[in-house]
């Protein structure tokens, strides 16, 4: 066998391929193939005999047409999920940036506070929340529930007295839409806090990576704290804001109702073709949204290095 004579660069390239090989095999076998199959399934009617394997029946765009015109709840669920996402993502981003700046200041028991703020990530498990909400559901409408239990279940939802705040801000003559948004945000503060654990951690990392000399310069030039935030902190964390936005959108999407609908359509109703169509439509919309957001934000981003 002839020995291969490679240059240094050639050998490095070969080693590089060797390093990414395991991922590449998995990517081709389980990812690209699966993406292709999803599109294929969505164009067919799928029959799955209990013995194993499956047969395809080409129906063209029928599943997509059904999704938009025939199916009872798909359009509604999709719009609700998307609008929830559009409302929640900016709130989560600003909240987590704010909290990260708060936690980045020197203070006592910083470790403990950071641990508390990371708790939601630990406890935000579908199993736990699902089990608890099932129990609450049983309380609210189960067979043996009494009226007292129902009252308890109904009142345990929100600890914030909404009416008071609405009346308070109503007198300021704010536009109703702004007011509604703020009131909605306050009502879901617990959800927003729960969803921003990872983002807070990432933002703290980002804030720590800003060189202190930047702040020194700002201070010497006489910038106020407000100016320092907008001229130094904000531009420097902008790339991280993009990363976090992508993460938040994908995360919000993966726990939205559309995913549940696709899951139940496939595994409870056995309508695999339609479920694939749901997946394809919702994924395309998410990716379009992501591309739009990233394009919009990266035009305004300053990259330090």
């Amino acid at each position: 066998m002839k020995k291969l004579h490679l240059t240094m660069a050639g050998r490095r390239a070969r080693n590089g391929y060797l390093f990414i090989l395991p991922w590449f095999i998995g990517f081709v076998l389980f990812y690209v193939r699966s993406l292709y199959m999803t599109v294929q399934f969505s164009l067919n009617t799928l029959t799955v005999p209990p013995a194993g394997g499956y047969t395809l029946d080409f129906v063209g765009l029928q599943n997509y047409i059904t999704a938009f015109t025939g199916h009872g709840t798909f359009k509604q669920t999709l719009v609700t999920s998307l609008s929830n996402m559009v409302i929640d993502v900016p709130l989560i981003i600003f909240f987590s940036l704010f909290v990260a700046m708060l936690l980045n200041r020197k203070m006592k028991c910083r470790g403990l506070v950071r641990a508390i703020f990371f708790l939601p990530v630990l406890l935000n498990s579908e199993a736990i929340s699902g089990t608890l909400s099932y129990a609450a559901q049983m309380m609210a409408g189960g067979l043996s529930s009494t009226s007292a239990e129902m009252a308890e279940a109904a009142s345990s939802g929100s600890a914030v007295n909404m009416q008071y705040f609405i009346a308070l801000f109503g007198e300021l003559a704010l536009p109703t839409s702004v007011l509604d948004y703020v009131v909605g945000a306050v009502g879901r503060i617990s959800d927003i806090i729960k969803a921003s654990g990872v983002q807070i951690v990432l933002f703290i990392a980002a804030l720590q990576s800003i060189t202190p000399s930047m702040y020194e310069v700002a201070k010497i030039e006489g910038a106020t704290g407000y100016e320092t935030f907008w001229k130094v902190t904000f531009p420097m964390v902008m790339p991280h804001i993009i990363t976090n936005t992508i993460y938040t959108i994908v995360d919000a999407f993966s726990r939205s109702d559309v995913v549940n609908l696709a899951y139940t359509t496939a595994f409870t109703e056995g309508n695999y073709g339609l479920s694939s169509a749901f997946s394809v439509i919702s994924s395309v919309i998410t990716c379009a949204l992501l591309a739009l957001v990233v394009w919009f934000m990266s035009k305004r981003t300053f990259y330090y290095n």
């Binding site: 991922w23 999803t38 049983m138 990363t243």
Partner: protein, 312 residues
């Protein structure tokens, strides 16, 4: 009148301006600190209150839960909820298999993703940009898009109702959020100085040795970050567990979701209010191990994330 004179003298001296500036600055700082403490305590309350509620309710006895006077602190605390949930969850066996599943997956993820991340960070080869774009696609496309084909694939391989599909996916670098982990490792390795490897090369270290014994050791912060994320997400994951129909007995998360019905069926407890107390105890039992693991890794983890340089 002497005091008044002294005051006027001080008022007109330059020392007064200095003192005034210092006092304003000090009170400003104090105000900021107070505001910070209020905010942190408030948000911590929002985070902790459901946890406190769950923990306290899990100690309620039957009479406590029926008594409207009892709030948060039980009058006759009992550990009966824990004893029953412990048995119903088959806790020791389920916990052992859950930990095995979680840890094997995490080790595979850390090893494979760090390797791939290193490959992307340090080697130049044709098509690198394209392949890395593929990694980004893996992060961006939601994993549920490909759930059906994955189900079909592993069904035809007859690996359903076992933990094998997840191991295979993790080993191939396409497991639970592998794309993100590859990205983190790539980012971190790129930030390490090249001189380390050059020194290793001059001293005659091979590529595999350089990666395993030098670079991976230097990447400890990134390794810990990925380990924590992977452990937590894998432990809490229900999506893949449901998709591959991993048996209930193998995963705590799956057992927990059937706990209420099991308690109702096996112990003939029909009151939903009482069932809920058992569920609370079960939730605490499921949360506890991952909380302990996190507390052990926590100190190093926070530092790790800060130095792992996850940049967009």
């Amino acid at each position: 009148m002497k005091i008044m004179d002294k005051w006027l003298e001080f008022r007109n001296s330059p020392r007064f301006e200095d003192r005034k500036g210092a006092a304003v600055k000090k009170s400003k700082n104090l105000l900021l600190t107070v505001l910070q403490v209020i905010l942190i305590v408030g948000i911590s309350y929002v985070i902790l209150s459901p946890v406190i509620g769950i923990v306290s309710q899990s100690f309620f006895s039957d009479s406590d839960s029926a008594n409207p006077m009892v709030f948060t602190i039980p009058m006759n605390p009992t550990v009966e909820r824990y004893v029953v949930s412990f048995q119903q969850l088959k806790y020791p066996a389920t916990l052992a298999s859950t930990l095995l599943y979680t840890i094997v997956n995490t080790l595979l993820q850390v090893f494979i993703c760090s390797m791939v991340g290193y490959g992307f960070a340090r080697f130049d080869f044709p098509g690198k940009k394209f392949f890395f774009a593929c990694v980004v696609v893996m992060i961006v496309v939601p994993s549920h898009t490909i759930m059906l084909p994955q189900y079909m694939t592993f069904r035809s391989m007859e690996l359903m109702r076992s933990t094998w599909p997840m191991y295979i996916l993790s080993a191939c670098g396409v497991g639970l959020r592998s794309g993100l982990f590859i990205y983190i490792f790539n980012q971190f390795f790129r930030g390490l100085p090249k001189e380390i490897e050059e020194a290793a090369f001059v001293d005659g270290a091979g590529t595999a040795y350089t990666y395993l014994c030098i670079m991976l050791v230097n990447a400890i912060p990134a390794v810990i970050t990925v380990t924590v994320f992977s452990l937590v997400w894998q432990y809490n994951d229900m999506f893949y567990a449901k998709l591959f129909q991993i048996p209930n007995e193998a995963l705590l998360a799956r057992m927990l979701s059937t706990l209420q019905n099991n308690v109702a069926a096996n112990l003939k407890i029909m009151s939903v209010r009482l069932q809920k107390l058992f569920v609370n105890a079960g939730v605490v039992l499921v949360m506890l191990p991952i909380l302990l693991i996190y507390l052990v890794l926590q100190k190093r983890f926070v530092e790790g994330v800060e130095r792992s340089g996850i940049v967009g």
